[in-house]
């Protein structure tokens, strides 16, 4: 992952995300996996302070996290682009109207060297759906901006009782290519 300006080894993106979520008391993680998210999922599974589990569908995870929020516990949903594409109805009928600060971390597939035409096509629905529902979203491309964006986004979501989507670009994660 290279070195930072002062010569110290830079932390990996997944370690930064995991630590920043925890610092904001986001300790309940539901996911449907994605290859790119594997190191993040593994590092959260290894953390005894975090409850992390897979669900059968992304919609189900959104429901669980909505219930947990109402019960006083913060959480985040991790998925890939195609998983987000299954969520329009529950965002429009539950998360947005109930003002649930759902934190969504989306591994951005379908761009910058995608090999799978289905991923490339479904990726085009991502930002239009978010914009149609006026859901705040940020595309994170740089390691040096990662902690700031995740930290401030979680705080804003909670303070304004609104969902947020953080799109993890291949520029940050390396993405997935045919070889990987």
């Amino acid at each position: 992952m290279g070195t930072s300006e002062d010569g110290a080894p830079a932390r990996a993106w997944h370690a930064v995300v995991a630590a920043t979520l925890k610092n904001n008391d986001v300790r309940l993680i539901a996911y449907v996996p994605d290859r790119v998210l594997t190191p993040l999922i593994a590092c959260l599974h290894a953390d005894a302070d975090v409850t992390i589990f897979p669900t059968a569908r992304e919609e189900e995870a959104a429901g669980i996290l909505a219930g947990a929020w109402m019960g006083g516990r913060r959480g985040a949903l991790m998925m890939q682009t195609s998983g987000f594409a299954t969520l329009a109805n529950v965002l429009a009928s539950l998360i947005v109207p109930c003002q649930i600060p759902l934190i969504m971390l989306i591994s951005e597939r379908g761009v910058l060297g995608e090999f799978n035409i289905g991923q490339a096509l479904v990726a085009r629905t991502l930002r239009p759906v978010l914009d149609a529902l006026a859901i705040t979203h940020h595309t994170i491309t740089r390691l040096d901006e990662l902690e700031f964006i995740v930290d401030r986004s979680v705080r804003q979501a909670v303070a304004t009782q609104a969902p947020v989507a953080l799109l993890l670009s291949p520029l940050l994660t390396g993405g997935k290519t045919l070889a990987s």
Partner: protein
């Protein structure tokens, strides 16, 4: 062994959803949370009168059980009851395996099985020969039973409140819900959070 003498699907009595919901609520004495699904399950819960620990889900068909599971994970000392329709559960059957895998002791699922999508015009569901209790057991929820009648449902619920996760299925008649929930999602959510002691 509370589930040893289960009723089979075929000899479970067909009950009324409002009447059963009323009886279920009467068993809840410890501020248990109740999450009711889209349409009739939340309409009949609403009809039973105001209760601060009730969540009425207005959209997001199929998510009553996941929402209840989330509440159960957040508040392990409070029991949570999900009231869900059969058509709705069919849309999110995978949630049963998640419940079984996480195994929250404080979660009970009550399925109101009328065999139809009643609220959209009573079309049949694509589950004519399915047994939902068998599905729940196969998903890994060992405490899963058909309620033979109203009294049996109360007995199963008492056992479920003592430790779950549990799944109780009730055959339901085709009477419509007796009231309609007020459509104000933000207010419903805020009232529920206050009822759960998350907000003051």
């Amino acid at each position: 062994m509370p589930h040893g003498d289960n009723a089979a699907l075929g000899n479970a009595k067909v009950m009324n959803r409002f009447e059963l919901t009323r009886r279920i609520l009467a068993q809840l004495e410890r501020e248990e949370a109740v999450v009711a699904g889209i349409g009739n399950t939340n309409f009949d819960l609403w009809a039973c009168g105001p209760r601060a620990q009730n969540f009425y889900m207005l959209g997001s068909m199929g998510l009553a059980v996941p929402i209840a599971l989330g509440v159960a994970l957040a508040q392990p000392r409070r029991h949570v009851v999900a009231l869900e329709g059969d058509g709705s559960l069919l849309m999110q059957l995978g949630c049963l395996t998640t419940v079984a895998t996480l195994g929250p002791a404080n979660l009970t699922i009550v399925l109101m099985d009328n065999g139809i999508y009643q609220i959209t015009g009573s079309q049949p569901t694509p589950a004519a020969s399915a047994d939902f209790v068998a599905l729940a057991r196969a998903a890994g929820i060992a405490r899963a039973s058909w309620a033979a009648d109203e009294g049996d449902c109360e007995r199963l619920l008492r056992a479920a409140l003592a430790g779950g996760p549990s799944f109780i299925a009730a055959r339901i008649d085709t009477q419509p819900a007796v009231a309609t929930t007020e459509r104000d999602p933000a207010r419903i959510r805020e009232r529920f959070m206050r009822g759960l002691g998350v907000r003051t």
